[in-house]
Symmetry: C2
Subunit: 553 residues, 2 copies
C-alpha cells in the first residue's frame, strides 16, 4: 500500500489559452514521462500585439527528477503540433511519434524551422501500439476534420487511461475510416480507470453532422456559381481540400491552391496518399488568371478573418495577384473561433461590398464541427465505461457541462474532476486526487521574441490602446529652477493634436505655472506627471499614460 | 412630370456601426423633414478606448435647406434612443414623438442629462397617426423584446413608405399585443411604394421563437436552483424583467433589481403600467443579503461581458455589496452581440470558477431573438406587397441575404436596393433611385469628449496596442554637436524593460554612435528616429512608435 502511494500515475495539462488540456499534456510515473501534443493557441482580442501563444514548458526543462521519453501527437492541426519547433529546440533528443499524415505535417514545420535533420521523428499507424520508454500507448483511430487522427489508451498499473484527442463519431467520414468503436469497447472490458475526453461541443445537443453533408452543399454552390469559386478554410483541413477537389472535378473546374502553408500541406498529403488529385487538375495562380472564371476554383487561407491571409487581402484589395470581382462566389468553409466573429463578419461584409456572393454556415452547410456533440459524448462514456472522468478540450464552461452530462449518465459525481491548466492530478489504486499546481501557464510570441512580452507589457499596451500617452519634456535652469524654453509635448492616441491647439496651450501653461510656482526639488518629474495627469483627467475624463523628462541644464 | 422630379421623397440612413439604417434615418421632401430614432452603437474591438458611437448628424445642423419637424421613435432600446440627449442639444426645439413606454425611457435619459425640462416630448399610442409637420405617419404595433414598439406607415405622394422598426411576428407575446397584421395588410390595399424592413436574422431559417418559451425555461431553472438566482439582461428589456418577476412570484422569491439604469427603467415601466409587480415583491440589496438564498432573485446588468457592469464585477470579485457563492445560479438572458462573444464567455468562465452554475442559451432557452427570421420576413413581404424594398437593420451580409430572399419571393431584382449609411435614396412616381452620399458617418464618444477622437487617433492607439512606443531624449551641445550626457529612454508596451537592460544599452550605443559619427544638421530628430526604428525592427521584428527629442543646449 505504502509503495503504491509513492508512484501514482500523474497527469498535467500544460498551458493553453481558455481551453484546458488542449495543447499539451504531461504524463508521468516514477520519474519517467511523456507528452501528448504540443500546439499553439491564438491570442484573445485584448492580448495586444501577440502573434500566438505557446504552452509554458520551461518548468519541465528545469525538472531533474523526470526523464522524458517522447511526445506523441494526436493529429496535425496547429493547436496540437504548432509549437513543435520550440519543443525540439528545448529538448533536442526528444523522440516524436505520429501517424503518417501528422508526421508529414510535422516534417513541413520542422523543415521550415531548420530542425528536421536533428529531430528524431517516428511514425506509427492508427491502431498500432507505441512504446515510449516504459509506457505502452495503444493508439486508436478517431474521426475529426483531418485524416489520420488518433486517441490513446495508456496502460497503467491502475487500469487504462484513455485520451480521446479531438474526436467525433462520424459514421460517413470523407476518408472512409470510422472512429474505432471496437477498440474503445475493448478497453472497457479490460477496465478503464480514467477517461480524458473532448468537451468542445458539450453545449450542443444531438450528434455532430457528418463531413459527408459538406459535399452536397459544395455541389449546390458550384452548380449555381456563375464566375470563379473561392473556398477559404484552414491550411491543415486536408479532408476539406479533398472535398473541394472532388466537387471541382465533377463541375469541370481546375483547382488553384494558394498560400505557402496550404500548398505545402497539400503537397505532403498528396505524397502520402491522403489527398487524391491528379496533376492535371491543379493549376497555379498565373494559369488560373488566364482561364475562364467558371473553370476555376481557388483554395485560400484566412477563413478566420486574419488580415494578412489571402482572404483578408482580397477583402481589403491588397492581394498582389488576385482581386475579387462581380460574380465571384466565396465559400467560408469554417466556423469563427470564439473571439474572431467580428473579424470574420467584417471580412465577409467587405467581400460582399466588392461584389462577391459569400456563402457560409448557416446559409449552406459548408462547414461542420470536427468535435463530438452531447449524444456522442454519452456514447463515448457508455463505450469506455470509465471509473473516472476528466473533461478536457474546452473552456471551463464546456468542462462543467461535460461533467454534468457525465453525472446524469451515471458516473458518480465524486469521480468527475474538472481541473485547470497546470494542475497535476494523480491516479493510483484508490482513485484520483488533485495534486499540486505547476508554475507557468503560457508564453506569448510577438515578432521574433518568445516570452519577452509578458503580462506587464500587455497591460501597458491595453492602457495605451485605451487612452494613448502624453509626454512633456522641459528644460530647466539648473541654478534658478526656471523654465528655459517652452515645454515640448509628444502625444499619440489621446486626442487629435492638430485640432487641440488650445488644449496643448493649456497643458504648456499648466506645466510652466507648476515649475514657476515653486522651485521643484528632488521629485520634479513625479510632480509634473501628477499635476498633468490630474489636469488631463479633469478636462477630458481620460487617463492617458503620462511621462515627463526634466532636463536640468 | 418635371415638377414631380423636383420633389422626390428622400431617405437617408445616418451613421451606425456595421448595421445599416439602424440608429437614425432622415426622411425629407420639398425642404421639410423628420427623423426616425436616434440611438448609439457599441464600438468594435479595434476601436480602442471608444465608449460608444453616435450617428454623425453634424451635417444636418449645417443644412439650411431643410426644416426638421421632429423625431419619431420606434422603441426604447439604447440603439434607438441612446443619443437623444446629444440630438436635443444640437436641435433644442425639435419635438420628440414616442409611445408611452418609450417616452418614459426617454424621460429618464433626458432627466439624467438635465435636458428634460427644455425638451418637447410628445406621446402617441401604437396604432395612432402622428402628424409631423406636413408628414402623416401611421404607427402600427410590432412585437420585439420590449413593450410598446411601433413601425410607421409614412404617407407620400408616391404611395406608403413602411418602416418596420425592429420587429418579429410573435403570436404569444409577453404583453399580449401582437404585431398589427391588419394594419400591414391594409397598407397593401392602399399601395405600398417602399418597404424598409429589419434584416437582422436574414441568415436564420424559420420563425423566431416566441418570448413565451422563456418563462417555462426560467421555471425549470428556478425549480432546480438551490441557492440564489441572478438573471442578467439588458436594462431596457422590460418584458424580461416582467417574466422574471412572474416566475419569482411562483417560486416565492423576492426580486432585487440592481444597477442604476435598470432600477430607473423598471420604476418608470411600473408607473406606466408596463411592468406588473407589487411593492412587497421587490427588495433592495441590503434586504436581499439578509434573506435565505433560495428566497431571492437578483436582476443584474452586464450580460454582454462589460467589466464595469454588475455581472462583470461579480465575475472579477469587485462588486462592493455582492459576491458569487457556491450554489448560486446565474442566468444570462441575452445573446452576445457580435464582437462580444469572447468577453461574454470569459465572464461565464469566471463565474463558474467562483462556484456558480451558469445557464445561457443553448443550455436552456433563456433568451430568444427579438427579430424576425426568414419565414417572418417573407410574411412581411407578402402582407405589405411593396413595389420596392430597402433592407435595413443588419450588416451588409444580412441586407444581401434579405435581398436574395425577397427576390426569390417575387420582388423584381431591380426594385430591391441595398444601400450603405449616408447614402440618400429618392422615391418618386417613376421609382427609386440612389442619390448622393452625405458627409460624415459616425462619431466616437470617449470619456467626456464627443467627436474629438477620430480615425487618426484610433489608428495610433492600434499601433500603440500592437507594439508600444520608444522615445529617446538626447541633449546635444549646440556648438560641437556632441552628446552631453547619456540618451534617456522612455518606453511602454514594447518589451519588459527590466529584463532588457542589455537591449537598452544597445539602443543608447546606437544613438551615441549616430550622433558622434556625423554632426547632425537640420533633421537630427528624423535621423535619430529612422536609425532607431531600423535597429529595433532588425533586432525584434516589431515596429513600436519611435520618437526622439533633441535638445540643443
Amino acid at each position: 500500500m505504502a509503495k503504491k502511494k509513492k508512484k501514482p500515475f500523474k497527469i498535467t495539462p500544460i498551458g493553453g489559452l481558455g481551453e484546458i488540456g488542449k495543447n499539451m499534456t504531461l504524463f508521468e510515473m516514477n520519474g519517467e514521462g511523456f507528452l501528448i501534443d504540443c500546439g499553439i493557441m491564438f491570442p484573445a482580442n485584448d492580448m495586444h500585439g501577440v502573434d500566438y501563444i505557446i504552452p509554458d514548458f520551461r518548468w519541465l526543462e528545469e525538472r531533474d527528477d523526470i526523464r522524458l521519453h517522447g511526445v506523441c501527437f494526436t493529429h496535425g492541426h496547429e493547436d496540437h503540433i504548432g509549437a513543435v519547433q520550440l519543443l525540439v529546440t528545448a529538448f533536442p533528443d526528444l523522440p516524436l511519434y505520429a501517424t503518417p499524415l501528422t508526421a508529414g505535417l510535422l516534417q513541413v514545420k520542422l523543415k521550415n524551422a531548420r530542425r528536421l535533420k536533428t529531430t528524431n521523428l517516428n511514425t506509427f499507424n492508427a491502431g498500432e501500439t507505441v512504446q515510449i520508454g516504459p509506457f505502452k500507448l495503444e493508439s486508436f483511430h478517431v474521426c475529426h476534420s483531418i485524416p489520420d487522427c488518433v486517441g490513446f489508451g495508456i496502460n497503467t498499473p491502475y487500469g487504462i487511461v484513455i485520451h480521446t484527442g479531438d474526436y467525433k463519431f462520424d459514421n460517413t467520414p470523407v476518408h472512409g475510416r470510422k472512429t474505432d468503436y471496437a477498440r474503445l469497447a475493448g478497453f472497457a472490458q479490460r477496465g478503464v480507470a480514467l477517461l480524458l475526453a473532448d468537451s468542445t461541443n458539450s453545449d450542443k445537443a444531438g450528434w455532430t453532422q457528418s463531413e459527408a453533408v459538406i459535399e452536397p452543399a459544395f455541389e449546390r454552390v458550384f452548380r449555381e456559381a456563375k464566375g470563379r469559386v473561392m473556398v477559404a478554410t484552414f491550411a491543415s483541413l486536408i479532408s476539406r481540400v479533398q472535398q473541394v477537389v472532388t466537387v471541382a472535378r465533377k463541375y469541370k473546374r481546375k483547382v488553384c491552391i494558394t498560400g505557402y502553408t496550404m500548398s505545402q500541406y497539400a503537397k505532403i498529403a498528396r505524397k502520402l496518399g491522403y489527398l487524391s488529385v491528379d496533376d492535371a487538375s491543379l493549376i497555379n495562380i498565373g494559369q488560373a488568371r488566364e482561364m475562364p472564371p467558371h473553370k476555376v476554383v481557388f483554395m485560400v487561407t484566412g477563413s478566420q478573418g486574419e488580415p494578412s491571409a489571402v482572404l483578408g487581402k482580397l477583402a481589403s484589395g491588397r492581394h498582389q495577384q488576385l482581386e475579387v470581382r462581380e460574380n465571384d462566389t466565396i465559400i467560408l468553409s469554417s466556423h469563427p473561433i470564439p473571439g474572431n466573429e467580428e473579424m470574420v463578419y467584417r471580412t465577409i461584409n467587405r467581400l460582399i461590398e466588392r461584389g462577391a456572393d459569400v456563402i457560409y454556415d448557416p446559409i449552406e452547410a459548408v462547414h461542420v464541427s470536427g468535435h463530438a456533440c452531447q449524444e456522442e459524448m454519452r456514447l463515448m462514456l457508455n463505450l469506455t465505461q470509465p471509473r473516472h472522468l476528466i473533461p478536457i478540450h474546452g473552456e471551463i464552461r464546456h468542462l462543467h457541462l461535460h461533467a454534468k452530462l457525465a453525472a446524469a449518465s451515471g458516473i458518480p459525481k465524486e469521480n468527475i474532476t474538472v481541473i485547470s491548466n497546470g494542475t497535476t492530478v494523480e491516479l493510483d489504486g484508490r482513485g484520483l486526487t488533485v495534486g499540486e499546481r505547476q508554475p507557468g501557464g503560457y508564453v506569448f510570441v510577438d515578432g521574433s521574441g518568445v516570452g519577452d512580452v509578458g503580462r506587464a507589457v500587455i497591460r501597458d499596451r491595453e492602457i495605451l490602446a485605451q487612452d494613448g500617452f502624453v509626454l512633456v519634456s522641459v528644460n530647466v535652469d539648473q541654478r534658478s529652477g526656471e523654465l528655459i524654453d517652452e515645454p515640448r509635448i509628444v502625444s499619440r492616441g489621446f486626442v487629435y493634436l492638430k485640432d487641440a491647439e488650445d488644449f496643448l496651450e493649456q497643458i504648456r501653461d499648466n506645466i510652466s505655472q507648476l515649475v514657476s510656482r515653486r522651485r521643484l526639488n528632488g521629485n520634479r518629474q513625479s510632480l509634473v506627471e501628477e499635476s498633468l495627469g490630474k489636469f488631463i483627467y479633469n478636462e477630458t475624463k481620460r487617463r492617458p499614460m503620462i511621462f515627463s523628462i526634466v532636463n536640468e541644464v
